[in-house]
């Protein structure tokens, strides 16, 4: 706990700019509204409540993260929002209309990339435009031209004719983002999209994502278990707790925009991280000790 001896402001303290920004966000229309969402699984041990009374709303062009300890049902939540699983109770409203089942207006980026391996990068990005039949976007271009524009946006112009197996993990995920965005979804759901990437690639992808979000009319709901990632990217963070998965707190991130990696050490950032740590890893009375017997020579100490 010594590192926390540094004086940190409350994570609720917001600078004038940040406060003004949140005021502007609340003036925007609500895109996604989740009302008292519940999910129960039937297992051999009886019914298990994975999610209970989860409620929150996401406003247009907001970046919202969902974070929580493992087993808090955050993946179940995003899968229900995407329509890939059914909720047991509650409702999901998109632009005020209830939704059920998957649909192109809720794009999804998965941790495992899920690119179609038999299609080139270009064809992957064209997939959504072709199957949903909205081949003419606002620009009135052809499907292919539109797909090429999205590929250019994620910086993969030279790889348009490559197959997924020829790309690195970070490149695959950029294709997956372009593919989801090409459909112009009302909300982009991202299920731990950078979880499988190494630290450097992940940092790069976070910066790409912020750039895309700034320039594209898209609302993002992002799932992660990485606290830094959540703070760095989000306007607000929904903190879930486990057994059952419930909303513990919705945190307005006091870190100013535009975001940059230097802010990782800013006081607002650290204050928010401290709060998240408290919520997700509550302090225990004693640290759990492993029953290890000494197997080194006396005096051969490493601390």
């Amino acid at each position: 706990m010594t590192s926390h001896d540094v004086f940190l402001p409350s994570y609720r303290e917001q600078s004038l700019e940040v406060r003004a920004r949140f005021r502007k966000i609340t003036e925007r229309p609500v895109v996604l509204q989740v009302n008292r969402l519940g999910k129960t699984f039937d297992s051999v041990k009886g019914a298990v409540q994975a999610l209970k009374d989860v409620s929150f709303e996401v406003r247009r062009r907001e970046f919202i993260s969902i974070i929580g300890p493992s087993g808090c049902g955050k993946s179940t939540l995003i899968r229900i929002l995407a329509g890939l699983e059914e909720n047991s109770s509650g409702e999901i409203l998109l632009d005020g209309r209830e939704v059920s089942g998957p649909g192109p207006e809720r794009g999804m980026v998965f941790q495992g990339y899920t690119l179609f391996p038999w299609l080139t990068v270009l064809k992957n990005v064209m997939f959504g435009l072709e199957v949903s039949g909205n081949s003419r976007g606002i620009t009135g271009n052809t499907t292919e031209q539109e797909a090429r524009d999205w590929i250019e946006m994620v910086g993969l112009t030279n790889f348009a004719d490559s197959y997924p197996h020829e790309l690195s993990g970070g490149m695959k995920q950029r294709v997956a983002i372009a593919r989801a965005l090409a459909n112009r979804p009302r909300i982009l759901l991202m299920d731990e999209p950078f979880g499988a990437l190494d630290a450097q690639t992940r940092a790069k992808m976070q910066s790409y994502l912020l750039q895309i979000w700034k320039n594209v009319d898209v609302t993002i709901l992002f799932i992660t278990h990485d606290l830094d990632e959540a703070i760095y990217l989000s306007d607000r963070i929904v903190v879930l707790k486990a057994n059952p998965g419930e909303v513990q707190e919705i945190i307005e991130v006091p870190v100013e925009h535009p975001r940059s990696p230097e802010q990782f050490l800013s006081l607002e950032f650290l204050a928010t991280k401290k709060r998240l740590e408290e919520l997700i890893h509550p302090p225990r009375e004693t640290e759990e000790m492993l029953p290890i017997i000494r197997m080194t020579q006396i005096g051969d100490d490493v601390y």
Binding site: L84, F116, W118, F127, V131, H165, N183
Partner: protein, 344 residues
């Protein structure tokens, strides 16, 4: 060090060594066969008589069991008759490699004994057509059905239990029935191959279809694909390379039913040829014909494997010949205008 490298689990060998060992997989059985055929001390239970001497019932080129030969010679010597002379030989049913090799040519140019009997190439072609028809008919129904079973639970429950039951019924058991229904010509033969292939095929294709990555279906749904488009744009292309591989395996199985199928009704094809040659005790032709089946099967599979690697380039890391050719053409056509500018 170098020797130990062969015994690292799953360790791939370098291409040169790999090819050498692959070649050895054929050379080793050949060498064993050659040793048995050409070393008189190995096996050789017979004696081929070259000079019968004064033993009445020995004839030139007669094959006599070694013990009998020595016994008769000993008896002849006792009675002051001239003994026979002969060389150790293997039984007639084990010809030497060079004899079988010669048969590959000989069998094709030997005219049939009766004027209405087929030549070897006609018999072989007959066998191939029976296989092709059986496999095509089976695939035409089994592939769509298997894909449906692997995709929709409805079809799976509706067909798979019965198919599981039926695949335990040996195809040759239907021989008599097939003749009664389809006559004695090619009908029942094709039917045996269909029965032998179809049920395995349905289950195999269904199983392959079920192994499609479900995450791809989920991704497609979040992109707006549903119903028939989900089926035609995700399920079908996703399983195609694996279905193709299944078909290669199944085609090999179809060949194993051929020999049974060809003795149903009137015997035809390569089986008829083999049985006929065995009847005349021309065993080198029998071996040649059996090896021909292997060569046809292996060649077909290698050709199909190559075609598969060209069709499904996204699976392998290699570029197809076609795309390499078109790339070469594109680059050469780019060069041409340059030349024409230099030489106006």
């Amino acid at each position: 060090m170098a020797r130990a490298r062969y015994f690292i689990i799953w360790k791939e060998l370098d291409p040169k060594r790999r090819r050498v060992f692959q070649l050895f997989s054929f050379i080793i059985p050949l060498v064993i066969w050659a040793i048995i055929s050409y070393c008189p001390v190995v096996w050789h239970p017979m004696v081929k008589v070259s000079d019968p001497g004064e033993i009445a019932h020995f004839k030139v080129d007669a094959m006599i069991l070694k013990e009998a030969f020595h016994r008769e010679n000993a008896k002849a010597l006792e009675q002051h008759r001239r003994p026979a002379i002969g060389a150790p030989a293997n039984p007639v049913y084990l010809p030497a490699p060079h004899e079988v090799a010669a048969s590959f040519y000989k069998a094709f140019v030997t005219p049939p004994r009766l004027p209405d009997e087929p030549w070897l190439h006609q018999s072989l072609w007959h066998s191939i057509t029976v296989i092709i028809w059986g496999f095509l008919i089976s695939s035409a129904v089994a592939v769509p059905l298997g894909i449906l079973c692997g995709t929709y639970r409805l079809f799976s429950y509706l067909t798979e239990p019965f198919v599981e039951f039926f695949r335990y019924l040996p195809a040759p058991a239907f021989a008599a029935l097939a003749v009664a229904v389809l006559g004695i010509y090619d009908g029942p033969k094709v039917a045996i191959i269909v029965i032998g292939t179809f049920f395995q095929q349905v289950l195999m294709i269904a199983n392959t279809t079920q192994r499609l990555d479900p995450a791809l279906l989920e991704a497609a749904q979040t992109l707006g694909a549903r119903g028939i488009k989900l089926f035609s744009r995700v399920v079908i292309p996703g399983i195609l390379p694996d279905v193709y591989r299944d078909m290669r395996i199944l085609l090999g199985w179809a060949w194993t039913y051929l020999i049974v199928a060809e003795v149903v009704g009137n015997s035809t094809g390569i089986t008829w040829f083999i049985n006929q040659q065995a009847k005349y005790r021309i065993y080198d032709n029998v071996y040649a014909a059996i090896i021909m089946i292997g060569i046809i099967g292996l060649t077909t599979d290698l050709v199909l494997a190559w075609i598969g690697s060209q069709l499904f380039t996204w699976k392998s890391r290699k570029k197809s010949v076609l795309s390499r050719l078109s790339a070469a053409y594109a680059s050469s056509s780019k060069v041409k205008p340059g030349f024409s500018q230099e030489t106006p």
